[in-house]
């Protein structure tokens, strides 16, 4: 069971009790959940019979009453050695963390599961989120499972598949005539005005803890080792920061040795404020007012955790890469045709960024590299269709097939 010690401001380090607090009232910075790490007695053998979901890591998740856990099987997704993609790119130790197979087909199952569980623990009757699409379905699904009302704020531009997917769980969907940042601002106002647990706003401190389980799993699936390099898609930056926190916690409890993981932050051209800041050598992120990228799930113009991504990249000697729409599609197709995994555009951004790293000589062919593939391609087929070849057509006659197969 979760052994929370306190909440701590990421900037001024003031400590607060683990209540419904989502920013530091002293300096507005985000809060992190801190645990009683010396009470966590994880051993490698302990996990042999653990649940095959993110709840195997309950000791380092912020849920204190196990009866409030909302579970539809999020997490413990496959880590696959990508031999064919590796050959294509000249990399011998390339892995894909395939989070497309989560119950709602993206990594957002992880934070949504934790956020909605925490809402139950706080006794809330309604939850919600601001979403570029993936979180919408995830929050709605966990709310359905928990029997909570659900309010979803989405921007004007969201893939229609993602709206349909969220709608099937019967939440109330509020489509805001504006960008993601406008939807997010309105959700923040609603979170302040009503007793709703907006998972990525006023439950955010707890919610992001779900995402760090990606880091736990990668280490566990590599035999409690860390990779040399993780390539992560970056929208707000919360995922990259959370994975890094997860690895630090494993070090802290002594389950892994000193971790020296290098991170690469991957963004789509047209909404790459973190990549731009990294290139400028700046510590501050200049927001993008009108994001325009095929990777709509990463189209966050005002990335809340941007400065933490910048700090992490500098501390670990990492990189930041931005890729164009055609490179995104090429990345999606390359991953699908070499490894049989169909990713949404965010995964195309990751593969495109990896390709750029290879071409620039920034990665070694023997490095252990993990690419985070965070959402299923079936969530964004509309945007891919213009880039795909038309099927061959034929009359139902074998003679015509012979001209195709028998050539």
């Amino acid at each position: 069971m979760g052994t929370i010690s306190h909440l701590e401001c990421r900037e001024c380090h003031r400590q607060y009790p683990a209540e419904r607090l989502y920013f530091c009232p002293s300096c507005f910075a985000p809060l992190d959940v801190k645990y009683r790490y010396d009470g966590v007695r994880w051993t490698r053998s302990l996990f042999q019979n653990a649940p095959r979901s993110l709840w195997r890591y309950l000791d380092l998740l912020p849920i204190e009453d196990e009866s409030k856990v909302v579970d539809i099987g999020a997490g413990f997704t496959p880590l696959i050695k990508a031999t064919r993609l590796g050959q294509e790119l000249g990399l011998r130790n390339l892995y894909i963390k395939n989070d497309t197979v989560n119950p709602t087909f993206s990594f957002k199952d992880r934070p949504a599961a934790v956020g909605v569980s925490k809402a139950l623990e706080f006794g809330l009757k309604a939850v919600g989120c601001a979403s570029t699409g993936n979180l919408a379905a995830a929050t709605a699904a966990y709310a359905a499972r928990a029997g909570l009302r659900c309010y979803i704020f989405i921007p004007r531009e969201v893939e229609p598949e993602k709206i349909a997917h969220a709608q099937i769980y019967s939440p109330t969907i509020i489509q805001v005539n504006g960008s993601y940042d406008a939807a997010n601002r309105l959700a923040a106002q609603a979170a302040e005005a009503y007793d709703v647990g907006v998972v990525n706003i006023n439950l955010r401190t707890y919610y992001v803890e779900g995402s760090k389980t990606l880091g736990f799993e990668i280490a566990e699936q590599l035999g409690w080792q860390t990779p040399d390099h993780i390539v992560a898609p970056v929208g707000s930056g919360a995922l990259l920061h959370a994975v890094s926190k997860g690895l630090e916690e494993l070090e802290q409890i002594g389950l892994i040795g000193s971790s020296r993981v290098k991170f690469t932050a991957a963004q789509g051209e047209g909404c790459a404020p973190i990549v731009e800041a990294f290139r400028r050598g700046s510590d501050t992120v200049e927001p993008v007012e009108h994001p325009k990228t095929l990777a709509k799930s990463l189209a966050i113009g005002e990335p809340g955790d941007g400065i933490y991504v910048l700090r992490k990249l500098r501390e670990c000697g990492g990189y930041a890469e931005q890729v164009s729409d055609p490179e995104i599609v090429e990345g999606i197709r390359l991953l699908a045709k070499t490894e049989g995994i169909f990713s949404e555009p965010a995964g195309g951004v990751v593969i495109g960024a990896l390709k750029r790293l290879v071409e620039a000589g920034k990665v070694d062919s023997d490095e252990t590299i993990v690419c985070l593939i965070t959402g299923s391609g079936l969530k964004a087929t509309d945007s891919l269709i213009p880039y795909l070849p038309r099927p061959l057509t034929t009359e139902p006659e074998l003679g015509q097939v012979a001209q195709i197969i028998g050539r």
Binding site: Y22, P25, F28, R185, Q189, N200, S211, S236, P303, G304
Partner: protein
């Protein structure tokens, strides 16, 4: 001097012992932040500004729904009836 309405996050307003919604007179955002300090205590001004005197990167301020980082930052002009929203800079997930 234009009068505007400022909305603060509930937890911050209660920590400062002030109402969530305040009527303030100011010509631009910089003046507004100074006036808020006079009304609610100088710690509020300190919280809204960075050490270098710019806008605290962890705060988003919106004038009629538009982030002031796109409208001139602290020099953003204000007019009678403007609605100012102050929230933590949290976005995405």
């Amino acid at each position: 001097m234009p009068e505007v309405t400022v909305t603060l996050p509930a937890s911050l307003a209660s920590a400062l012992g002030v109402s969530r919604e305040l009527k303030i007179e100011a010509q631009n955002l910089r003046e507004l932040i100074r006036a808020l300090g006079e009304r609610c205590g100088t710690t509020l001004t300190q919280r809204l500004l960075s050490r270098e005197g710019g806008l605290n990167p962890f705060v988003n301020i919106y004038v009629n729904g538009r982030n002031v980082r796109f409208t001139g930052g602290l020099e953003t002009p204000l007019k009678e009836g403007d609605e100012i929203l102050i929230i933590p800079a949290i976005a995405g997930g």
